[in-house]
Symmetry: C2
Subunit: 343 residues, 2 copies
Amino acid sequence: MANIKDVAKKAGVSISTVSYAINNIPKVSAETKEKILRIAGELNYQPNFTAQSLKRQKTETIGLFTTDICSPYYLEVTRGIQDALIERKYDLIIANIYQGLRSTAYRLLRDRRVDGGIILGSSDIPYRVIEKIAQKKVPLVVTDRSPDEPKQENKFISKLLVDNFNGAMSVVNHLISLGYRKIGYLSGLRESYDNQKRLEGFRQALQAKKIPFYAKWFIEANFTENTAYSKTKEMIKTGDLPEAIFAANDEMAIGAMHALQNEGIKIPEEMAIVGFDDIHLAKLVKPALTTVWRDEYKMGRIAVDMIFDMLNEKDHKNVITMPTRIMVRESCGTKLKNKPNIL
Amino acid sequence: MANIKDVAKKAGVSISTVSYAINNIPKVSAETKEKILRIAGELNYQPNFTAQSLKRQKTETIGLFTTDICSPYYLEVTRGIQDALIERKYDLIIANIYQGLRSTAYRLLRDRRVDGGIILGSSDIPYRVIEKIAQKKVPLVVTDRSPDEPKQENKFISKLLVDNFNGAMSVVNHLISLGYRKIGYLSGLRESYDNQKRLEGFRQALQAKKIPFYAKWFIEANFTENTAYSKTKEMIKTGDLPEAIFAANDEMAIGAMHALQNEGIKIPEEMAIVGFDDIHLAKLVKPALTTVWRDEYKMGRIAVDMIFDMLNEKDHKNVITMPTRIMVRESCGTKLKNKPNIL
DNA sequence: CTGAAAGCGCTTACAG
DNA sequence: CTGAAAGCGCTTACAG
């Protein structure tokens, strides 16, 4: 591998001059530059990135971190991030942040191998870990975090949230308007801010209509399809079922749907289901899932803007909340000719 | 940010000694070491990774590269890679290889920011790009590439293939055994090795049974759901349909299913569909998709083994081909009480 | 057991 | 316009 010295030697100049030529710094005469560039080409020379970033103290790459890089979540967010980064000629790398301080993400951030990080679904990462990273002045955008944590704001942490409360309200209200009264809640991770707010929206919608909240149909799960599947199976075994279920995310809604369908329970005829997130799968499953949408692609772009605002130490919003919209499809029973059995 | 000098100064030793202590090199007395470690802790010192890798000439991270990081493909491959890498205490980062020499992946590889790369679905990357990378002695594992390219093997390129031919044969034979005779082929990217071999298997299966290959039902697409959807719509408009379709991958099979179902054509009653890959979605769609499975998780682990074999310059297999298995579900009509309409 | 020094491959302020 | 030199933050062969 040719390095800057090889080029300098062959061109008969100093390494400084090579560096200036390569980096287009207008100090070098046209002919010298041309010669250097030609020789660099011949030698297939590429500046060593590691050495450059050691010197420049930046990498021009942004990290996208999730707890499970294999999860089908947030595809559109990723796409938005990617497009925004390409425009700025920055690189995007994705890594795992599972297990906090032992994760690749943490090492990438700690070692400044990225100039900034976007952490999707950070609920299982203690805030002190987030802060420890931000200490290094590597800007971070996090989702699924309370906007009130911590008390004093940190210049290197921005929060990108979703209007969980109103999203949940709207979809549960829709269920109520269809006539459902016995509604279960399929819960995500207890520590998740998103989950907490969705639960609040759920309870608020019930309360406003004086509909009881049934603790027996509060099913505790963790946002995954598998756990939702088995927890729903357990519920089915009790023989005591609600008329509808609001799942705190689509993956769980789909897990529950399969559990019910496996047991011969028809959706939406015998049980309505709604979710949250509007993942790609939501429109593909049968029946298509009624859920809550937000503009993920835009979220991705906003996340990148937030990173660069912090990088440039511009004044900026520290917290942005995305609005939501209900997507009515089939799983809620809205399109049934004979309205839900409970009517 | 504390660096090695800060620690050395505060501990009253040289930076060499700090380095030895931190890296557990048994040259330092127990008490000196303890003191250094304590002070490093107090100062929250972390060795600078960039500097380390500049010196050590390795990064202990492996890159996983795909054309579309937002694609739901290969989730299990990713999981296999990740698990294998965790065992070896290596980091995994994912990046885009879209647009060859302009991609993040290429820069990561060129700059040796990763010690090795796994390229999934490399069919649209010219071989010279692959070789250019391999020149740098960064080992590469590629999929979806002809084993015969190039003539002489490269010590830093290994190929991980799938037995496309037999996989396609088996699923098309299954269609034939159910009585279908007019079978269409929904094609992936023409340049894709996987696609070529699947097409060969398809043709071979027909030929063996003296069943004609209908050029009019050869639908050219590109492995994506969207294109398959619109191409299938076009075919439907002609009013001249086959009895069954073999899609070169599951995403396209699903795209075609939706196009057909949207037009009121029942699957499998009026048209059978089979795919290839057995992605997660395949069992979730209705009807569940009959397809061809291979052990993706194992592929991921094998890919990592191949990387390390090259890294350690061990003797090893240059090409590994994964066996396949047919997964019979519902979309092929095998479970119909009244067998397909053509019988 | 400890340290001074070279070097990894660059960038850049400074001098000429 | 060009170059010598310092320095980014480490590791490691060598000397003591």
